[in-house]
Amino acid sequence: MREIAASTISDHVAEMCEEANIYLGEEEFQALKDALETEESPTGREVLKQLIENVEIARNEQIPICQDTGFAVFFVEWGQELHLTGGTLEEAINAGVRRGYDEGYLRKSIVDDPLYDRKNTGDNTPAVIYTDIVPGDKVKIAFAPKGGGSENMSTVKMLKPSDGEDGLVDFVVNHVKAAGPNPCPPIVVGVGIGGTFDKVAVQAKKALFRPVGTPHADSRFAALEKKILNKINDLGVGPQGFGGRTFALAVHIETYPSHIASMAAAVNINCHACRHLERTL
């Protein structure tokens, strides 16, 4: 059986924490440049210019794109023929986060007790880790630093099957409209449909890990993504909510089979700095 050391996982995770927070992905950067071409509002264009310059400054001077360097969220696909040595996966990932956030001068934004003490853990741990066991002897680690401002503008609703496509579209568009300027538009909208109350939220999160603008593989859901995107942009909220055509850069849908009585739906919003990357070891 192939083996991998926990310290190897930690080394990669530490690098990924720094890299994702400083270098915006090419698809995400291109989406901002495309938006500048089509934005009609002068103020909106000014915002987009600042965002593009911001991405360039971050790259050139190794400054985090945003001061909110996020909750460290991981989706791990672990090949069942791969054996981890020298520690647990959770410890390995948290050790990597601890080192990456320290050495990368990233902000530590996690408090231990959510209600009473709210004392900062000082090293941005623990991470949020989802693990799937898959065939093979490799591990794929996907990482996103998830900012609090956009995460706060996210929601879950148990729709009825009879609500249908129209009900789903209204739910997403009305929710995003109410969020308005808060999640730092132009936003990326992750939508989960189906599954249970908990599963649908994870699907919405997973949707944000797709490179911006990559459509759903099923043409019906790809068309639905486009329809929702157009409706969101017709709200006129625009970049940063100052008014304009570009409220969202993309809508990504992830589905899961549903109970006969349910149609769970979730909206997880990301800001324009839709930071994520993955490595396969």
Partner: protein, 183 residues
């Protein structure tokens, strides 16, 4: 429209000369405070005790920067969501604060207080933390160092870009801007 250069601190006349939608470049000294620092300041006000900084005429910037690397004045330093400060803002205005900088929607109580006390709410571009850090030339902690990124910092800024969202006349760029482009 060319941005207007403004100098901190602000007088009532400065506030009344600005309208929602104006782009400004801020120069001078501004202070930072976010959730935890606001809570401490308002607790002092409620007890009738003096504050660690004089708020008269001042800008408060809602920001919790990343740690500065050696040689940098400050790390990434974009605005945080302002709505979390809504509950504290009228009291800050009552103590003389003239402008606050953040991003996102404010409550009606804050908008009313901006008219009552002659104040401004401005937005800096959320998520442009690297760009904004270049406009901050000096940064030092002046209160609550134990709060880390949430401590009150004194910032010296040069041409720090922001947009007036809520002015002292009751105008609201978030409402008006979206109306103009909705279809």
């Amino acid at each position: 429209m060319e941005p207007k250069k403004i100098q901190a601190p602000l007088s009532d006349e400065d506030v009344m000369s600005l309208k929602a939608g104006d782009n400004v470049l801020i120069n001078g000294v501004i202070y930072t405070a976010r959730d935890a620092a606001h809570k401490k300041l308002v607790e002092l006000m409620d007890k009738g005790e003096s504050l660690p900084i004089d708020l008269a005429g001042q800008f408060i910037y809602y920001v919790g920067p990343t740690p500065a690397k050696p040689g940098q004045a400050i790390g990434s330093a974009g605005p945080t969501t302002s709505g979390r400060m809504d509950v504290y803002t009228p009291k800050m205005l009552d103590k003389g604060m003239k402008a606050c900088i953040g991003k996102g929607l404010r409550s009606q109580a804050v908008k009313d207080a901006l008219q009552q006390y002659k104040g401004l709410y401005l937005a800096a571009v959320g998520g442009a933390g690297a760009l904004l850090s270049k406009r901050i030339k000096k940064c030092e902690v002046v209160a609550y160092p134990e709060l880390g990124a949430e401590a009150i910092h004194r910032l010296e800024v040069e041409d720090f870009p922001a947009t007036v969202i809520n002015d002292a006349y009751g105008n609201d760029l978030y409402a008006e801007g979206a109306k103009e482009y909705a279809r």
